[in-house]
């Protein structure tokens, strides 16, 4: 039982990080109609910036610069590439983002090399025990920060002008344009928000129990894709549920790997994709993907 609770807690904390990434993925899709594969390298960019700058300028400034750099990179990708290709087929845009991702990733891997860079989190790699259930401090803080960010995001999405503009233009871009809503601005802002969320996720993803910033952090980020897709690509609530579901699945599959040994070692890493496929077989547009809600 203790093991179960421990895995659940760790799964939720991992899931909260995935949810941050998946949320960014979903709002980019809603605002720009692009399935953005740039997320993995954006995340790595954030982590790399934080790791490199932590020594010379200190941890907190490095984190802030990392967030700004990542948001700026996302903004530039939108302005220089995506915005200029508006109206291109969704597939071409997705492939363009894969191209951008590969360019950015290659450069980052060249810079990181074979090293594992360390982001010196002041909370270190210690674990805490809550009623017999162990979790790393890093993951615990991640859960808190992600929770706050996610709530802030949903409040803004529901009540702010940006949120209304964003939802309106996601639903009917032309009608929104006729209302004077500038889609370019909405879309740019969505990329910036997604960049910030990815950078925050990066900060925690490279902390304990993960060893540090290496090219492997990129593959971890990729697991947020099934989270976004199984939740429903155009559903922010879906991204949250999907993130948690993937996080818990991964933690459980890794934790019970002795019992699951017939599936071979390392099942935890593929479990998210297995869950995604099963969900999509049952519900092709994801758990909360759009079903038409209209009366004619």
């Amino acid at each position: 039982m203790t093991q179960f609770l421990s895995l659940l807690l760790n799964g939720i904390s991992l899931g909260a990080i995935y949810a941050l990434i998946a949320l960014g993925f979903v709002i980019i899709f809603k605002a720009s109609e692009v399935v953005s594969f740039t997320h993995g390298s954006l995340l790595l960019l954030g982590a790399y910036t934080m790791a490199r700058l932590a020594d010379p300028i200190g941890f907190l400034p490095a984190v802030l610069v990392g967030i700004v750099v990542t948001a700026l990179a996302a903004f530039l990708i939108e302005r220089l590439v995506i915005n200029r290709l508006r109206g291109a087929p969704v597939i071409s845009l997705a492939i363009v983002t894969i191209g951008v991702d590969i360019i950015l990733l290659t450069e980052l891997i060249r810079r990181i090399g074979p090293d594992i860079l360390n982001v010196p989190h002041p909370w270190g790699g210690d674990s805490v025990r809550i009623g017999g259930v162990g979790i790393s401090e890093n993951r615990l803080i991640a859960m808190g920060v992600a929770g706050v960010l996610i709530i802030a995001f949903f409040v803004a999405f529901k009540y702010s002008s940006w949120g209304v503009a964003m939802r309106a233009s996601a639903e009917d871009g032309e009608a929104a344009a006729l209302m004077g809503i500038r889609q370019g601005r909405v879309s740019a802002l969505a990329w910036i928000v997604a960049g910030v969320l990815a950078a925050v996720a990066a900060l925690f993803l490279v902390g304990a129990p993960t060893p540090g910033v290496s090219a492997a952090a990129y593959t971890v980020a990729l697991r947020a894709f099934p989270a976004a897709i199984l939740g429903g690509l155009d559903s922010t609530g879906g991204a949250l549920v999907g993130g948690l579901l993937i996080g818990i699945t991964e933690a459980m599959a890794a934790g019970y790997q002795d019992q699951l040994s017939f599936l071979g070692r390392g099942f935890g890493e593929v479990a998210p994709y297995v869950v995604m496929i099963i969900v999509l077989l049952v519900r092709p547009s994801g758990l909360f993907g759009t079903k038409e809600l209209t009366r004619v």
Binding site: E171, A175, A177, L178, G180, R295
Partner: protein, 263 residues
């Protein structure tokens, strides 16, 4: 206030949708544009509201001027801010947003807070049902209510000129009558209206001036009441057949079908 001068618009560089149209909307007037499918009505509105590019259309010749500015090359946002706002064909309300959020979205181009507050009051006075249903998802409104919302949403931008694209489409005759009254009331409050319609009875009932478009050209223009009396408009848009009885009409119709087969 709005003047269109020998406008020519093509789609994809090939399909000519509007071929040399000129028209004028005077301050405080209601102008109707009639025409069947494919006459170029929607293209005309897209050109005015700056959404032509979204449909891969291009202005080849001519200008659209509003007050003292040339709208021809401006984007949709700038045009809304100048006071020209379009209610799109088929309503196009944001069905997943609430009624209130739809109105908020409509006011996005309006930076003046006081004007926005006045606009809300105006919309709620015109359409009390939108106040009652403020928190409801717009997709659950009836067709007539959705049209009211689409008009209300456009009014949130405090337009000087309101463009309406077939507001009667798919609505019951009683509701169409209401739409006509609403248009007249909006105009009485000082907003000029350009009304594109297939329903000529309603359109000519509220308009001062009217144009008839036929495959991209203006085929008739004039005072709305006078135009309603002309044989052509009576026959094509008002469903009167002149002296011809129903029997003759059927015959004509079948002959037309036949000629299409042999052509």
């Amino acid at each position: 206030m709005l003047s269109i001068d020998s406008l020519r618009v093509t789609y994809g560089g090939a399909v000519e949708a509007v071929r040399g149209v000129s028209m004028e909307v005077r301050d405080g007037s209601v102008v109707a544009v009639l025409g069947s499918n494919g006459a170029g009505k929607s293209t005309l509105l897209r050109t005015i509201s700056g959404t032509l590019r979204l449909h891969r259309g291009r202005v080849d010749e001519g200008t659209v001027r509003f007050e003292d500015t040339d709208l021809t090359r401006r984007d949709a946002g700038q045009i809304v801010r100048r006071g020209v706002v379009q209610v799109p064909e088929g309503r196009r309300i944001f069905g997943r947003l609430t009624v209130e959020e739809n109105l908020r979205a409509g006011g996005m181009g309006n930076r003046d807070r006081a004007a926005k507050a006045r606009a809300v009051t105006r919309v709620h006075d015109l359409f009390p049902v939108l106040r009652e249903r403020a928190g409801q998802r717009a997709g659950l409104l009836s067709g007539g209510e959705q049209q009211m919302l689409a008009i209300g949403r456009a009014l949130m931008a405090s337009p000087k000129l309101l463009l309406l694209d077939e507001p009667s489409l798919g609505l019951a005759p009683r509701v169409i009558g209401q739409i006509g009254e609403v248009v007249a009331e909006i105009n009485r409050q000082g907003t000029a209206v350009l009304l594109v319609e297939q329903n000529a009875t309603m359109a000519l009932g509220v308009a001062d001036h009217a144009y008839v478009l036929d495959v991209g050209r203006v085929s008739l223009a004039g005072d709305a009441r006078e135009l309603a009396q002309t044989d052509e408009v009576q026959r094509l848009y008002l469903g009167h057949t002149g002296e011809a009885g129903p029997a003759q009409r059927t015959e004509q119709a079948s002959r037309r079908t036949l000629s299409r087969w042999t052509a």
